[in-house]
Amino acid sequence: MIGKYGLRFVSLGYLAVLLVAPVSYVFWKTFEHGFGPAWDAVTTPNAVHALKVTLILTAVAVPANTIFGILCALAIVRHRFPGAGIVNAVVDLPLALSPVVVGLALLLLYGREGWLGGHGVVFALPGMVLATIFVSLPFVVREVVPVLREIGTEQEQAAATLGASALQTFRRVTWPAIRWAVAYGVVLTTARALGEFGAVSVVSGRLAGETESLTLHVQDRYQSFDEVGAYAAAVVLALIAVATLILMTRLKPKEETQ
């Protein structure tokens, strides 16, 4: 019995010290002197602009990666084609590759001396969009692939035999089966896109009020010794993270019961 409670104590203690305490402390510090200073800090023109930039990056990256994710999952699972293994491995790469390396790669491709240089991609919004798309690319694919494997092709073949077109088969048979997996993938993609820091940091040029996303704004405020500004912006991002967590827990059981 001691072992059981001991293990519970160790597990929960580890989570408390590593995750819960630091995040709660920053929440507390932000609102230490009331709601006013925090609100003022996140409504400065630079903070509002940074939030806008972050929302633009997410609004482009998420739909692009969702459409790609569904197509790529279909290509990997449903069709045998040369190079499928390589596609599979490359899709996983952004999950673990250092975001600074991603940013540098974009810088070298689109920068002044790059193969595709001189089109205003780097140190501007297009470069930041490309960086965000890169790092948030795998999530929809990774969620949809196992579900497609599991449902098999029998129903799709039946629909095709009954004269349904490829599009009809997708809409009536495949989509209802994968939609929760897609939704879960979209939530993960959104969280990653909103929170991207390293890759965007390299390609943005970090001009406050111009090419600064909300994560870059957090760092900028902290390094300018504006603690309240940094904490308040961090809390905005953390609140979005909490909303994401709630969505994740809501969607997960549905995905698993399929």
Binding site: S11, V100, A105, L194, F197, G198
Partner: protein
């Protein structure tokens, strides 16, 4: 409905078009977004002096050692947390289960900032690890926490408890039951979680950059070293070190594929 169907091209013709489209679009998208930039990176990587410079070697060594320690701690802590979530029953378990995913949802720069606030120079609990190697371990442990938990948890859920009951009835104590029955079943999951955590730790930047202080030869990890090279106008050197990071990441990912194949073979 029938008239509409007749107006469409024959199902066969449309079906043969669809797979080509899916494969074509995904391959093109992957090439433009991922492969082309990485090709530019490899092309521009020059100066092996840059990789063998003392500062580069020191940062790469620190990164690999710290990531290995973090992966090991995750093997233990992640398995313990997964066990607590699956086999234990207590009030608020659902909330704890959701909290485990927090590092996936929280931006890394925010993670670093919160750790710095509580365990930094102005710590309210008098623990200051800022600008030390402990800070790097702490930051990496934060961002890699969910990996082992989330790979071990489903396997533990599926595990047939009759085997453990049988072992217990044959006189095995709890430790022996765990070591001989449970561990062999969850080991592939632990290994693949540990490898993911290791790969993630090797590339981590946002969580580390504020709290580690980035002191060359002491607390400068590989990603921060690359960032520094870019800032000081040495993209060639940055690219050279990046290729090393890329190789480690890709190698670990291939290894995970290997572990998964090994696991499914042992399943049958």
């Amino acid at each position: 409905m029938a008239a509409k169907a007749a107006a469409l091209p024959s199902p066969k013709a449309r079906r043969s078009l669809a797979p080509g489209l899916a494969i074509g679009i995904s391959t093109l998208y992957l090439s433009v977004i991922v492969l082309l930039p990485l090709a530019a990176l490899a092309w521009r990587a020059h100066g092996w002096d840059a990789i063998t410079s003392e500062q580069a070697v020191s940062s790469l060594k620190l990164t690999v050692i710290a990531s290995a320690i973090v992966a090991l701690v995750n093997a233990l802590a992640g398995t313990a947390i997964a066990w607590t979530l699956v086999r234990d029953r207590f009030l608020g378990q659902g909330v704890v289960n959701a909290i485990v995913d927090m590092p996936f949802a929280l931006p890394t720069i925010v993670a670093g900032l919160t750790l710095l606030a509580l365990y930094g120079p102005r710590s309210p609990v008098d623990v200051n690890v800022a600008f030390t190697r402990w800070a790097i371990l702490l930051a990496l442990l934060f961002v890699t926490l969910p990996f082992v938990v989330r790979t071990v948890q489903p396997v533990l859920l599926e595990l047939d408890r009759e085997m453990e009951d049988a072992a217990a009835s044959l006189g095995a104590n709890r430790l022996a039951t765990f070591r001989r029955i449970v561990l062999p079943n969850i080991l592939p999951a632990i290994l693949s979680g540990v490898a993911l955590a290791f790969a993630r730790a090797v590339g981590e930047f946002g969580a580390v950059v504020l709290i580690s202080g980035n002191l060359p030869f002491k607390t400068e990890v590989a990603s921060v070293y690359v960032f520094g090279r870019i800032e000081s106008g040495d993209p060639g050197g940055a690219a050279a070190a990046s290729v090393v990071i890329l190789a480690i990441t890709f190698g670990v990912l291939l290894g995970i594929g290997g572990v998964r194949r090994w696991a499914t073979r042992h399943d049958r």
